[in-house]
């Protein structure tokens, strides 16, 4: 499968510029059973200031895709087997510089992007925050890591080397002791106050009541919603160009979830960031995204504008998934379940990944691997053989699946 470096609609003035583009990403895991194709040829674009929702069930590869942006997949067992993730930072877009490939850039460059240009909110705030550090220390770390120059600006005409090292959190034990002694203590305190102000401002932005009090508490003293707010403060502290939210509300109650969602939406607007929102919950993704990509078994099954996907889902999997969500219109016992389970991803054959569960599957589905086809005007793409013409595949028209006819 070949993918052009830039999609043709890039040249159009109406579409906002790209922030990141994923091209044919393949992430495999080495296991005793064989090579697990967790992400197998995924491509999508994220544009400036938009929210892309990535939906899929457990094991569809949505989290692995997201983690690949920051190279957070442990290796081994993980292997980046192919593809690239190109990223344009705000600065690169302005100067017209080349994008960086996040999968190949050297580590020191990657560290500069992590938490700075691309930030991530994790699913379980209880696990993602360090239980041994106060909120102040955890949020301050972001500033020390990425904003040490800014911390030194103005107030220190010529900051001593030691203060510089302190602002970059590079001091050793002896140096820290030295910083406590009178000649440097004043400057060190000033630096700390300055960081505190930054931390308080960051927390304040997430509408936490009493940020100064929260700064001195430990994660276990906060409720789930508060912890998630701290995580968001941490993620947005450096004004990132891309925010990756990996199921940020799954561990929260619905009433808190709605608040956090609203907060992410507000802050996205204020920071003018692009958001990659990952969730298994279709109804949530519908609320927050501009565009949606539906993943199944390491592939993208369907992608397009949110209203198009929810108004007229094309892929049998998307249709099945939407019908399976219980709602007011359903009668008990008549919920449209998708039979079977997600297939094993160990050395998968060249076939539609969904054909084992698809109600419309025909013999051809087990033999040909469908590619994402552009079917709608606004970039609505679907990977199902039913939307191919017989000529494209070189087969008889009767061999193609027919979505109006059930085969099982």
């Amino acid at each position: 499968m070949t993918i052009p470096v830039s999609a043709p609609q890039d040249t159009m003035t109406t579409t906002p510029p790209l922030v990141a583009t994923v091209q044919d990403l393949r992430v495999y895991f080495k296991t005793k059973a064989g090579l697990v194709h967790a992400v197998d040829g995924v491509s999508f674009d994220i544009r400036d200031r938009e929210t892309l929702g990535l939906v899929g069930e457990t094991g569809s590869g949505k989290s692995v895709t997201a983690r690949s942006f920051l190279r957070l997949i442990q290796s081994p067992p993980g292997v980046y087997a192919g593809g690239r993730i190109l990223f344009w930072s705000d600065e690169a877009r302005r100067t017209g510089a080349e994008p960086v490939d996040l999968l190949t850039i050297p580590r020191h460059q990657l560290l500069d992007v992590r938490g700075n240009r691309i930030a991530m909110i994790f699913q379980d705030p209880g696990k993602a925050l360090n239980p041994a550090l106060t909120i102040r220390e955890q949020v301050a770390e972001v500033f020390y890591q990425h904003r040490s120059e800014e911390l030194l600006e103005g107030a220190y005409g010529d900051a001593s080397l030691l203060i510089r090292r302190a602002a970059g959190q590079r001091t050793r034990l002896a140096e820290r002791l030295l910083l406590r002694l009178p000649p440097l203590r004043q400057q060190a305190t000033k630096l700390r106050r300055r960081v505190d102000d930054h931390v308080a401002a960051a927390l304040n932005e997430t509408q936490i009541a009493n940020p100064r009090k929260i700064m001195d508490s430990y994660p276990h003293e906060l409720s789930g919603g508060m912890k998630q707010r701290v995580m968001i403060a941490q993620a947005l502290a450096c004004n990132p160009d891309l925010l990756i939210a990996d199921e940020p509300t799954t561990a929260l109650d619905v009433t808190i979830q709605a608040k956090i969602l609203e907060l992410i939406r507000q802050l996205q607007e204020r920071h003018q960031a692009a958001v990659l929102y990952i969730s298994h919950d279709l109804s949530l993704v519908r609320q927050i995204s501009d565009r949606v990509a539906v993943m199944y078994a390491g592939r993208i099954a369907e992608t397009g504008r949110t209203e198009d996907i929810f108004h007229e889902p094309l892929h049998p999997y998307t249709r099945g998934l939407m019908a399976a969500v219980p709602s007011a219109g359903h009668t008990r016992g008549r919920l449209a379940a998708i039979e079977g389970t997600v297939p094993e991803l160990v050395d998968p054959p060249a076939s539609c990944r969904f054909h084992t569960r698809c109600p419309h599957a025909v013999a051809l589905c087990g033999a040909i691997d469908p590619e994402l086809l552009l079917v709608g005007p606004a970039g609505h793409q679907v990977a199902c053989l039913a939307y191919n013409t017989p000529d494209q595949l070189g087969v008889d028209p009767s061999a193609l699946p027919d979505l109006s006819r059930r085969t099982r």
């Binding site: 069930e57 009433t255 609203e262």
Partner: protein, 450 residues
Amino acid sequence: MTTLSVETRGGSDRREGIPVMTVRRVRKHFPIKEGAMQRVVGQVRAVDGVSLDIRRGETVGLVGESGCGKTTLGRCISGLLTPTHGGIYFRISDEQESELDRVLAVADDARTAADRRFLAELDSEHRIDTMNSKARHVYRRNCQVVFQDAFSSLNPRQLVKDIVARPLRVYREASGPELTERVVDLLDSVGLGRQHLYRYPHQFSGGQRQRISIARALALDPEFIVLDEPTSALDVSVQAQILNVLHELQREWGLTYLFISHDLGVVRLMADRIAVMYLGQVVEQGTATELFEHPLHPYTEALLAANPDIHADPSHRIQGLEGTVPDPANPPQGCRFHTRCPVATPLCGWEVDDAVAWLSDSRDLPDTLSGVERHSDFEATLAFDDEASAAAVGSRLASDEVPAAMAAALAEVEVDLGQVRIRFTERQPMELQEVEDGHLSACILHTDQS
């Protein structure tokens, strides 16, 4: 499928609509222990005064946020926890139920000897934590549980055959080849088959494991099953399969369900009647359609407004709730929801804690606060180190910025040297009251208390 004698079912037929479980004023408090001596310093009131009827053949849904006590109540009803106060009665008749309600309404010391005899008889025959061993035998086999996490509720060292056959072995229902056939029948009824008999739980997916749990619960042909979030660990497509299986089984076997879930969509689909819990109490109870179409309690309204619906109008934005769930060890006075309620009135039970929380949230509580002396929940004296901050707090509490409902409930603010004395109008806890036929709500807006 399985034939059971009348005797094993406890000698009663399965008439629709008669009470299976009668829950009256149940409380479950967990002690908070501290220090080397493990001194009890407080009680977490996980369930705090719940009354509920579960009738034959119906599904009662129990919804609420995490920490509201729905799982604890489910565990009390299934006999896994013993309630601290109150009683849970199994299979009492309609007459006994109304008699029980009459007796319980009478104060403890005003009961007649006949009333006491009646209660004692119910305790030994029907109350699940005090019943005699014969009655308990019948209760235990007729009340089963399906847990949320099918990963930890199945023994990883046992084969599926042993897991599902275990209840049958314990009750000496079958042995040898007959036992295997019974297990195959059970697996068959939940959509698994003979080929799954000799496998371990880890060889199954989440949905299949939950099916095994259900098969195990069905083994003794129970009357009543507590389903504690049976699908919340599953994906939507698999969840739909399990919900269909549960419905199918209920129809075929005439089961009664207590369905515990935090997912309103699922509960709406599965339940006939729903009880909404908040901080250990039921705040609203009614039929599923009534509750979803005409919610009475503001908390139910808030839950519905926060629930994203995939089939709703896309322009409709979900609404959240301010604040966090209060500490169940020290629940608010009056209506427990008043601290977060968008339509709270002055009569909702404002108290000292609300004033202190408001002051500290609006950053007006000076660091010079040296102590809070409580005279009651509604009256306290705040002591400050200097007079200026006491005066500042006093004028702050008298200003217009205090939320209107709280300001109206504030009966007295008195600044005296370094002290501020505040007093609120006292309110009683809110009780669940019938507003419409079969639709109960614990909100002052729907009662004649005001």
